[in-house]
Each structure stands twice: as C-alpha cells, then as structure tokens.
C-alpha cells in the first residue's frame, strides 16, 4: 500500500502514519510544509517499520501547486490522509478578514483543491480511500472558534458529498471527528484531562475505523454522545451560553 499523508507534521498524522506502516506495511509519502521535520520523521518510520517513507513539500494553501504535486507522485497512492489543519486566532480573525480567510483556506479550500484531484484519480481507477480529519467544532458554531468551526463544518459536508459520489466506484471516504487531542495545536489550551485523547489513541481509533470500513468516526468515541447533547440544545438557549 502507498499512503499519502498531507499535513504529515501533525502529531495525529504522524501517529497514524506509524500505524499504517506497522500494520498495513504501507510505504509513505509524508507531505507538509516543514520538510526538515518530515525528514526526521521519515527516517524514524523507516528504521522502525522497514518501509520507505518519502518527505515531500506540500502547502495546502497554495492551490495552484496541487496538480503538479499530485502528478509528481509515482507510484500513485492507494490512500490519502488529509490531516493539515489550522486553528488560527478567533479574535484576530474577527478584526482582520485576512486572518479569517486563512482559516478557511488552510482547513477547507486547500483540502477541496487537493482532494478533488485525488478523487478524480481514485474515481478513474476505481480504487483508493480518503481519510479527512475534520472536527467536532464543525458541528455547531460557537463564539470561541466559529471561523475554524465553519471551515471544518464545510469540510465535513464536503467529505460527505465526496463519499456519496465515490461510493459506487468502491472508493472509501472516512470523516474523522476528533474532540480534544493533546497535540501542538492545543498545547497552550487548558483541556479537560478526561476528555482529551493522546495522538496515539486518536490514531488507533482512526486506523480501526479504516479496518472496519466506517464512514464516520468520532475520536474518542464518547464525543459522539457529547455532540449529540450539544447539537440538541435549542438555539434560544444555546445563544446565551458562553462557549
């Protein structure tokens, strides 16, 4: 198996790449912006699992480059993980539309740009799977992160449409909905210990969802129920909450 990991410097993506290397013996394309960091990770995964891992430069926001990027992959991947994500700064984005646009770009537009190219290839070959890392933040808008939430919400809807389109061709699309994960993205946040997963735990959940051919997976599992509750709060009440 050849797996393309986009945003491979994400802590979750790296843990997931490790699982695919270990359990699926996957060769890896590790694609992200910081190539020095990727080189170190590629060497680590090669020594641990005896697979080949190739570091590649990839910028999700640079949509123009995506066709050439995908074209350069030989052989073509059997699976793609879209893990890149950008939390951004809500307050800054409220003041400066440029900031807001970056959040949409990095989390949504960039993902659509590259995944459309991937989808076309997989559809043609009738083969492949796509794993998209969205977020439970995309399930209801909150004042503390609605730019990020809106981008992730759009991404979730995009993935669901893609799944619908590709299912007849036997191409699997998995939407991943993480709650809190302890990564560099959330390092400065005070997260509730019991609700926060380690990157390795999230990776295990995602890999298991892949093995079981799930469409949607929450990680950790209890977020499914937490979000059920959060979504069911009536709007007149919700709008008064400080979330």
């Amino acid at each position: 198996m050849n797996l393309l990991v986009l945003g491979a410097n994400s802590d979750v993506a790296f843990a997931l790449a490790g699982r695919f290397a270990q359990f699926e013996k996957a060769d890896l394309y590790l694609a992200s912006r910081n190539v020095t960091a990727l080189e170190k990770k590629a060497r680590d995964l090669t020594i641990r699992h005896g697979i080949t891992a190739t570091p590649l430069f990839f910028d999700a926001e640079d949509c123009k480059s995506h066709a050439d990027f995908y074209e350069s992959l030989k052989p073509k991947p059997d699976g793609v993980v879209a893990a890149f994500g950008y939390l951004g700064d809500q307050a800054a984005a409220q003041k400066d539309f440029h900031q807001a646009r970056r959040i949409f770009h990095a989390n949504f537009i960039g993902a659509v740009s590259i995944l459309e190219i991937v989808a076309a290839d997989f559809e043609r070959r009738g083969h492949g799977f796509i794993i998209g890392l969205s977020s439970v933040a995309g399930q209801r808008g909150r004042q503390s992160n609605y730019f990020y939430g809106a981008a992730k919400g759009a991404f979730s809807i995009y993935l669901s449409g893609l799944r619908n389109r590709l299912a007849p061709r036997g191409v699997k699309v998995i939407t991943v909905l993480p709650g809190f994960i302890r990564t560099k993205m959330t390092e400065s946040m005070e997260l509730p210990e019991k609700l926060t997963a380690l990157p390795e735990e999230a990776a295990r959940d995602i890999h298991r969802a892949f093995q079981k051919s799930k469409d949607i997976v929450y990680t950790r599992w209890f977020w499914k129920w937490i979000m059920l509750v959060i979504r069911s709060i009536p709007e007149p009440v919700f709008k008064r909450l400080r979330l």
């Binding site: 170190k40 390092e187 210990e193």
Partner: protein, 432 residues
C-alpha cells in the same frame, strides 16, 4: 495542567511545554523562571516536577541504527518499550533495564537506572556511548565518558539538573531469543536469601521479592528470581492481555492485614524450587507493566517508594533493623524488593553502591513520614543512602550525608548553570 510523578503525590499545577526539534529549546529556556524535564513521569516523587516543565513526549524519534554493532541513536523521549518493540525482533535487547519499560531514554540516563543485572552490567550509563546536552545558555554540548567527562558524570544520575539530554547513542546487547531461563528459589529468612544472592552471583539477572512483614525466624523470607538470556525460543514476544485499574482504590483497602494476607499467599504460591523454566522476557522484567495505572491501587492520596542501599559489610545488620522496624510499625508494602548490587560507578549522584538495596512501597498517610525519618537514621548509621528517583520527602541532611560526591556535582552545576535555570521541586527541597 495537573502533573505528578508515578506516586501521584504531590499533585501540582504546572505549565508544560513540548518540543520536536532542539532548535525550539533556546526560546523556551529564555523564558524567566526555572525549568525541569518531565518525561514519562515514572519517577515516583518530585524529581520531574516544577512550576514549568519541558516534556519530551514529542521528542521521540529514532535517528539511526547500526545493525552490526547494535548501536542505536535516538532522541531522549523514546521509551525503552519502543526500543524493545523495534529491536528485539532483530535480536537486540537493552543492556540494562529497570523494572518497567515505560520510561524514556532520557529518564533512564538522568536517574542512571539499574536492573536485575546491576552486579554484572552496572547502571544504564554503562551502555551510553554519548549524548548531546543542552545547557542552560542554550548551547549543545557533546558528552561521553571521554568528552566533557565531568558533565557526563554529572548528567548520568543528575536528575535533569545539568540540562536537557537531547540525542543519545546507546549500545544494545545481542540476544538469541525474547525469552529468559528463570530459576526460582524460596528462601526462609534474610540470612538464607543473602547467602543465595552470593552463591548465585554468576547468574546474569537476580532479584528477590521480600515479605517485609514477616517477623522472628521468618524475617526476610523471600522469593529469589534468577535468570539468563535464553539460547532458544522465538524473538517475538507473545501478545499480552492488558489489565487496568480504572479508578482509585477506596481508602482502607490497603492495610497491614490485607498486605500481610497478600504476602502470605504470594510467598506460598511459589514452589520452593523452579529450575530453568522458559519465560517471556516481559513478565520476567516488567511484571507490573501489564496493568495500566496500577498506581491507583494506593488510593487518591498516592504513595511513595523508599529505596535504600547499604554497603555490603553493613547490609545484614542494617536490613535486620529495618525489617524489624517495619514489622513493628506495620506499614505494609506489597512491593518489597531486595537485590545485591555490584560495584559503584564514577557518576557523582548515581545511587547504587556494592551492597544490598531494598525498595518498599508505602501508601502516603500521616504518620508515614515520621516513620521514614526513623528509617533514614538507620540507613545513614550503616553508611547507606536513598534513591533520588523514588524520593519525595528525604531531608536535605540525609541527602548530603548519603552522597559524598555532591560537591563535585555542585561544581559542575556552578560551571554550566550558575543561575540554576534547571531545578525541580526535589532539588530545591534537597538544596542540591
């Protein structure tokens, strides 16, 4: 975030910063205040605690492996468990391993940990070829037994107080299988077990579980476990079913009666003699690693481990006094372990010295610390000392008396970290 050592006492609020590349560290160190590395948090007490900690959780990559020499180069956050997973199937195992594999390479160096083969292989530092250390001013210093030797001697066993251990080159030992040939002897008292340790020195691995509550003629009765790397057997470990302690045990579960009962059953459950049985290496070295969060067994108030070593000549007399005190006081300890160490090394703060070491787990409760103060006196009177990586309460005076090379350590710190950028709650308590 909330942070504690393995003993879950004390539990503090701390700011934790992670890093992936050493290039990120100078900026972290330039932030005012003290820092200490917190790795896997398997040290029992306050060695890895302070208001600001640097975690090596994300600094965990393997950099190179030389399959001819068995030399691995890795970042200090890599765990021993990961090294075993990767290299045991290729016929390589750690030269020195403590009783848990869930610790980091950095933690193994900083505490200069020992294993069941201390009498033949020494401490963890004996398999460390070299490492890079980031000192307080953000410089990266290459240390080995020959280069920057004094910094090497201070860092191995130095509990993170000399700087941040970055990448490490380690030597592994070749093994033919993932199995151990185990021999078990039941010893009726302290005299018998000490005699057996001496008699069986030639075994590579040895350790005894000791019933610390047995008194009179049975005082010190033990199960001595001896082992050799097996010449046969697969290199793959069999899968283990993991167990877990999901919540804190309620108060009162552990008391002298339940511990006494446990000890009696445990002692009785071992046959008097087992010879050369083939066991996988995991249960032999890491019996407790199967049980997630076993530290919750001691309840919400946490626990500590009291590990002492006495010089050999004074060991028998000293241990007798200590066991007598424990038996009388009735502070029970499930996990009481006895081992005969080999010679001491040159590191300034390494714990082992030639003689017997005894490790006892105690639930934290009000009268405990006063009782441990009494044991301290016996330990010092017999020329012994306590292990820093287990300690959470020893008085500064006891530390100073137990570690006669402390001035050499302090001199290295004066040279490399005059401002004391690196400090832990423990180092401040002990006035290191």
């Amino acid at each position: 975030m909330k942070l504690s050592g393995w003993g879950r006492y004390p539990l503090i609020n701390a700011k934790a910063v992670s890093f992936e590349s050493e290039a990120e560290l100078p900026a972290v160190l330039s932030v005012a205040g003290e820092w200490i590395v917190h790795a896997k948090g398997r040290s029992y007490g306050d060695s890895a605690l302070n208001q600001q900690v640097i975690t090596t959780r994300r600094y965990n990559k393997i950099i190179a492996f030389d399959p001819q020499q068995g030399v691995v180069e890795c970042e200090s956050g890599v765990s021993l468990a990961e090294l075993i997973d990767v290299f045991l199937p290729r016929g390589w195992f750690l030269m020195v391993t403590p009783g848990t594999k869930l610790i980091s390479v950095g933690g193994a160096i900083a505490a200069d940990v020992h294993g069941k083969n201390h009498h033949s292989a020494g401490c963890f530092s004996s398999c460390v070829l070299s490492f890079q250390l980031m000192s307080a001013d953000g410089r990266i210093v290459h240390c080995s037994p020959t280069e920057n030797r004094e910094l090497f001697l201070a860092t191995c066993g130095g509990m993170g107080l000399t700087g941040i251990i970055l990448t490490v080159r380690l030597k592994l030992q070749p093994v033919k299988s993932a199995y151990i040939r185990e021999t078990i002897l039941r010893c009726r008292n302290l005299e018998e077990v000490c005699g057996a340790f001496e008699q069986h020195r030639a075994f590579t691995y040895s350790v005894a579980w000791i019933d610390c509550l047995a008194q009179g003629s049975q005082m010190g009765r033990s199960i001595l476990m001896l082992g050799e790397n097996a010449e046969t057997g697969p290199r793959q470990l069999p899968p283990v079913r993991r167990l877990s302690v999901p919540v804190n045990f309620p108060r009162g579960c552990l008391n002298r009666y339940t511990v006494r009962l446990f000890n009696r059953i445990y002692y009785g459950s071992h046959p008097a003699f087992v010879e050369n049985r083939l066991v996988p290496l995991e249960p032999f070295f890491y019996p407790l690693d199967r049980i997630d969060n076993w530290n919750r067994m001691y309840g919400a108030s946490g626990f500590t481990q009291y590990q002492l070593v006495l010089p050999k000549a004074a060991s028998f007399a000293g241990l007798t006094k200590i066991l007598d005190r424990i038996g009388k006081a009735g502070f029970g300890s499930f996990l009481a372990v006895l081992k005969l160490f080999g010679p001491e090394n040159d590191n300034y703060l390494s714990f082992p010295m030639e003689g017997y070491t005894l490790a006892l787990d105690f639930k934290i409760e009000r009268p405990l610390f006063a009782f441990l103060d009494e044991l301290d006196r016996i330990v010092l009177d017999h020329g012994g000392r306590l292990y820093l990586t287990k300690d959470v309460r020893m008085p500064a005076q006891v530390f100073r008396e137990g570690y006669p090379r402390l001035h050499l350590f302090a001199a290295v710190r004066d040279k490399w970290d005059k401002q004391r950028k690196f400090n832990s709650l423990q180092s401040k308590r002990l006035g290191v």
